[in-house]
Symmetry: C2
Subunit: 374 residues, 2 copies
C-alpha cells in the first residue's frame, strides 16, 4: 500500500505479480474466453489496462486448460504479457451450468456448451489455474442465490470456508497467488465469521463474493462496511463482479483495491455508452443526424474520429466495428474513471471527488444491482 | 499508365482522384455499409490499402445518402481520407432486393431491410453518389442472371447502354469520376458492341460487369480477352466483384487495373484463411493444438502474435476478435499479392510469376465462379 485516504477507507497501492504490477484502485476488464471482446492486447495497453481477468469455467471447457498449458500458458495463448487473474468458475457453475450439484467434494455440473458432465473440486480448480499460468488464482466457492435463508447461507459459507482450506493445502511453491473469497450472503455475522476464518488461513489476498446478485445497492455498501475491517491492511482486496462507475467509487471508499465487471464491454456491444453526463443508448433516433462524438470531453479513439450518427448506423447495421468502437470508448471511460480516483486519493481529495459525483446518482440509489459477471 | 508488360496485357499505373491516388493493379476491399467489417481505417492504411469500395444500395437505404451528405460526406462519416469508389447499386438490386422491376426509366425494387419501395434511375444513382462524395462513381446497369438467352442479354445490354448515356448527361463539373460498365453476358458480339458504344461516350473509366456470377472461369477469361482490346489504353479498367487471388492475376494479365471482392473479408469471418500454400479452414480439429501461425511466411499482425490453436478457439467460441484477426490476415494476403504482381510487372517477370502460381491451380480450372459481391 502506498497511501491511505484520510477521510475514507480508500487505499492507493500497487500489486506485484510475476507478470509485472498494477496500480490500485484498479478495474480489470473481463476476457471471458481468452479475449476482451473485439480488442487486441495492444489496444488494452494503450487504454491503460494493467491487468485482466480470465474465466476458468469457460477456458476449462473450451479450449481446455491442458491445451492452453501445452501452448505455453494463457499469457502466450492470448498474447497478453501483463497480469492475469482467473476466477474459480464458482460463479459460472451457479449462473451458466446445467444440473449443478454441490457436495462436500465439490461442484458437479453439466457444460452449457455440450451437456458434458464435470466435477470441479477446490483442489482441481487450483490445478486448472496453475495450468493456465495465471498470476492471481481464486479459490472455489459456492455462489448462492439472492435472497437465501440464514440457515442455507450459514451452511454454504461454512462449506466455502472448508473448500478454501483445501485449496490452500493444494497450493505449490510456484503457483499463482491464491485469493480467498468471503461469502456469507447478506448476513453480517456470517460475513464477519467467514472473513475471520479465511484471514486466519493467511491467504495472499481476499475477495468479496456473492454481491452484485440483485441485492439493493445500500445493502451491498453495508456488507462492505462490515467486511473490510476484518481483512488485513497489507493484503489486496477484490470486489468480484462490480460494477457501475458509481459502485466502484463506493467500493474504493469502503476499502476495496480492485474490481472486475463485464458492464463496460457488454454495454458497449448493446450500444449503451458511458459519458461524463450519464449513459446514452446509441440506437436512439435522436442520434441519427448527430455529428458530435459520444462525449465531447472524451479523448478516446472513437470520440476523436467518429460521430454519434456513424456509431448509431454501425449499431443498427449490426456491423462488428460497432462493438469494437463502443468497447474502446467504454473501457476508456472506466480506465479514466479509475485513474481519476487514484489521483484523487493521491491528492487527498477523494471526498470532494465523491461529492461531485454523488449528486448525479440520487435517482439510482434504490436500484438493485444487476449480475455483472461473465 | 506507368508501364505495359511485354508478355501480357498487364499494365502498371496510378489512378488519381480528389482524395489522392492509388497504384494499379489494385484490390479495393469492400466496405459495404460504411466499414470494412471489423477494421478501422488506420489498419487498412497499415495493410497498404489505398482505396476502398462502398455500396450505394446499402448506404442509400441506411443511413441514407442525404444523412451522409449532411454529416460531411462518406469520407468524413467513416473516417477514411483516401479514394472511395461507390458502385451503382445495380448488382444489389439484382441480388438482394425484393420484387424488382426493370423498366426504361430505371429499377423499382423493395428494400431487403423493411420492404419499402424505391426507384433507382440512372440520374438518381449519379445524384446519390454525388451526395456520398465518392471519388469514382459507377453508372446504373442491369445485372442479369447466368445463364441468360441471347435475346434477353441483347435487350438488357442495350438498356444498360442507354442508361449509361443518361448517367453521363446528368454528370456535373465537380462530380466524381464516372465509370461505365460493359455488360453483354457471355456473348462476344454483345460485349464488343457494348464496349464500343460506351467508349464512344468517352467515360473516365470502364468497368466490366456481369462476371463472377456462376460462369466457368475459362469463359470469364475469354470475355476479358474479347473486351479489353476495345477499351482505351489511357482509361482505368475495373473488373467488378472479382475474385480469388488467381482470378485477379488472370484479370491483370488480360489488362485489368483494379478489382473489388468481398472474398478476403467474408472468408475471414467464415474462418477460411489464405496462405501461400492454399486455403485453410481454421475450425478444423487438426488446428486445436497447433502452435504455429496461419502462415509461417506471413508478416501480418495476426501471424506475428497468434497460433492457429488460438484462432480456432476464437472461431469456435464465436468471439468478435476471430473476425478481426482473420480479416487482418486475409486482407494482408491480398494486398501482398497485389504488391507482388505490381513488382513483377515493374521488373518484367510477370510471366514467370504467373507460371509459378499457375502450377498450384490445375484442379481449380473447371471451377465455376462464385458471386463475390456484397
Amino acid at each position: 500500500m502506498i497511501k491511505k485516504d484520510g477521510y475514507s477507507r480508500a487505499r492507493l497501492g500497487r500489486i506485484d505479480t510475476d507478470h509485472g504490477s498494477f496500480s490500485t484502485p484498479a478495474f480489470l476488464p473481463v476476457g471471458t474466453q481468452g479475449s476482451i471482446k473485439s480488442l487486441i492486447p495492444e489496444e488494452l495497453v494503450h487504454l491503460g489496462v494493467e491487468a485482466i481477468l480470465g474465466n476458468t469455467y469457460h477456458l476449462y471447457l473450451r479450449p481446455g486448460h491442458e491445451t492452453i498449458e501445452r501452448l505455453g500458458g494463457l499469457h502466450t495463448f492470448i498474447h497478453w504479457e501483463k497480469p492475469i487473474l482467473t476466477d474459480s468458475g464458482g460463479y459460472q457453475v451457479f449462473s451458466l451450468a446445467k444440473l449443478r450439484k454441490i457436495s462436500e467434494e465439490g461442484a458437479t455440473f453439466q457444460s452449457h456448451l455440450d451437456g458434458s458432465r464435470h466435477l470441479l473440486t477446490p483442489e482441481r480448480v487450483v490445478e486448472i489455474q496453475r495450468a493456465l499460468g495465471s498470476d492471481i488464482a481464486m479459490v472455489l466457492d459456492e455462489c448462492i442465490p439472492y435472497p437465501s435463508s440464514y440457515e442455507y447461507v450459514k451452511t454454504s459459507t461454512s462449506l466455502t470456508t472448508r473448500w478454501a482450506r483445501r485449496s490452500l493445502k493444494n497450493k505449490r511453491e510456484n503457483d499463482p497467488a491464491l485469493f480467498a473469497i468471503v461469502q456469507g450472503g447478506m448476513y453480517r455475522d456470517l460475513r464477519e465469521d467467514c472473513a475471520q476464518r479465511l484471514v486466519e488461513m493467511n491467504f495472499e489476498g481476499y475477495a468479496i463474493g456473492g454481491l452484485s446478485v440483485g441485492e439493493p445497492k445500500s445493502l451491498r455498501r453495508e456488507i462492505l462496511e462490515w467486511t473490510t475491517p476484518w481483512l488485513p491492511e497489507n493484503a489486496p482486496r477484490y470486489l468480484m463482479g462490480v460494477g457501475t462507475p458509481e459502485d466502484i467509487l463506493d467500493g474504493v471508499m469502503l476499502g476495496i483495491d480492485f474490481f472486475d465487471c463485464v458492464l463496460p464491454t457488454r454495454n458497449a456491444r448493446n450500444g449503451m455508452l458511458f459519458t461524463t453526463t450519464g449513459k446514452i443508448s446509441i440506437k436512439q433516433a435522436q442520434y441519427g443526424d448527430d455529428g458530435r462524438p459520444i462525449d465531447e470531453h472524451c479523448s478516446c479513439y472513437t470520440c476523436q474520429h467518429y460521430s454519434r450518427a456513424y456509431l448509431r448506423h454501425l449499431y443498427l447495421a449490426n456491423e462488428i466495428l460497432s462493438s469494437r468502437l463502443n468497447t474502446l470508448h467504454n473501457l476508456h471511460f472506466y480506465m479514466e474513471w479509475l485513474r481519476r480516483i487514484r489521483e484523487a486519493i493521491r491528492e487527498d481529495r477523494l471526498l470532494d471527488f465523491y461529492k461531485t459525483y454523488s449528486s448525479h446518482r440520487k435517482e439510482g440509489e434504490a436500484e438493485r444491482s444487476a449480475p455483472c459477471q461473465a
